[in-house]
């Protein structure tokens, strides 16, 4: 590619990804109505992550980008996890010491 643009992806790849997204959407609605106990939310999140990955990888063309862009994209996710993880380290351990408010 003379300008550094990504190679041209055939339309059918995009349509296939679209089909995948549509199926996953149906699936997530379907499994939400099933009883999996504590697993419902993890299943829903797994499906959402799969869908997001499809969009990022194909539609947003991350697969043709430089490693630097990939690292950038990943860093957003990692920082989010840092915020959630360390933030929850407070909320999930508050009751450990049986002293109110400590």
């Amino acid at each position: 590619m003379s300008t550094g643009h990504a190679p041209i992806t055939p339309v059918r790849t995009y349509v296939a990804v679209f089909g995948g997204l549509a199926i996953l959407t149906t699936l997530t609605v379907f499994v939400a109505h099933q009883e999996f106990g504590a697993l419902n939310t993890p299943i829903a999140l797994t499906i959402a992550v799969c869908k997001a990955t499809l969009v990022v990888w194909f539609f947003m063309g991350l697969r043709y980008n430089t490693p630097l862009t990939k690292v950038t994209a990943a860093s957003g996710f990692i920082w989010l996890m840092i915020m959630f993880g360390i933030g929850l380290s407070d909320y999930l351990t508050r009751s450990w010491i049986h002293v109110p408010g400590r």
């Binding site: 590619m1 003379s2 300008t3 550094g4 643009h5 041209i8 992806t9 339309v11 995009y14 349509v15 990804v17 679209f18 997204l21 549509a22 959407t25 997530t28 609605v29 939400a32 109505h33 099933q34 009883e35 999996f36 106990g37 504590a38 419902n40 939310t41 829903a44 999140l45 499906i47 959402a48 869908k51 997001a52 969009v55 990022v56 194909f58 539609f59 947003m60 063309g61 980008n65 430089t66 490693p67 630097l68 862009t69 690292v71 950038t72 994209a73 860093s75 957003g76 996710f77 920082w79 989010l80 915020m83 959630f84 933030g87 929850l88 909320y91 999930l92």
Partner: protein
């Protein structure tokens, strides 16, 4: 860390733009769309794509603050969360998910049309993208109206109820924490909708430029970068849909 420096013409991935690569500023032979402070078209493209991704990381953290609040309160008030979630209209949410996925497809096809040099393709797909985006907002409007109708808007007038077919009002008792849920619901979907509106505005500009024939297989950076933004907004919804609409069906514990 260093994924290759920007030294033209060799290091920029597969980028150097033919023989124009190292031409100094002011000399002839530049691509007309190359800005003066870049050495090559490839450098310009790499910069704008990296720039958009960096910006999207910012957006991730922006929504992340609300997701943090969501997680904390959901662990505190699981019953309120499930009960409130069941007040949402899953059908509308599902329709909107589908609509957004369609718009992402047309968006990526618009970019592809630029790659293969089809102006008509860009125009048609951009218009379709905007139509899907607008459909999303219209559905959202009806959804919000329904919430107002059922007294689900937090604040002094929070009074969840249904109006039965015979006109009697059936109040719904929602546990403490439901107002937090609906606050976050309006905050998250509202900010998401705001992003959609901004996205449609960007698409209007892109449409104008596409009609003018500004995008060629050599140069379509703005279109590609706007596409990245549009897909990101789609991804946010991909997470909002299960987390807000679907969690209530089978809540246990």
């Amino acid at each position: 860390m260093s994924a290759g420096g920007p030294h033209p013409p060799t290091v920029l991935g597969s980028s150097a733009h033919g023989g124009l690569a190292v031409a100094g500023h002011g000399e002839g032979g530049h691509h007309p769309r190359q800005q003066h402070h870049f050495y090559t078209m490839g450098q310009q493209l790499e910069a704008s794509i990296l720039g958009m991704w960096v910006f999207l990381v910012t957006e991730v953290m922006f929504f992340g603050g609300m997701f943090m609040a969501y997680i904390v309160y959901r662990t505190w008030y699981p019953t309120a969360w499930a009960a409130s979630s069941n007040q949402l209209n899953v059908i509308m949410g599902a329709i909107n998910t589908g609509v957004l996925i369609c718009s992402s497809l047309t968006m990526v096809l618009a970019v592809r049309s630029a790659q293969v040099g089809s102006r008509a393709g860009q125009i048609v797909n951009l218009i379709l993208t905007m139509m899907f985006g607008s459909t999303f907002l219209v559905v959202k409007y009806f959804e919000y109206a329904e919430k107002f109708h059922h007294g689900l808007v937090p604040g002094p007038n929070f009074n969840p109820h249904h109006v039965l077919p015979d006109g009697t009002i059936e109040h719904i008792a929602l546990p403490l924490g439901s107002q937090l849920y609906f606050s976050l619901y309006f905050m998250m979907t509202g900010i998401h909708a705001l992003h959609m509106i901004i996205g449609i505005g960007i698409m209007l500009v892109m449409l104008r430029w596409a009609i003018k024939g500004r995008f060629t297989p050599d140069y379509y950076n703005p279109l590609e970068v706007s596409g990245l933004y549009w897909h990101f907004v789609d991804i946010v919804w991909i997470f909002l849909f299960p987390l807000l609409y679907l969690l209530g069906y089978n809540y246990r514990g």
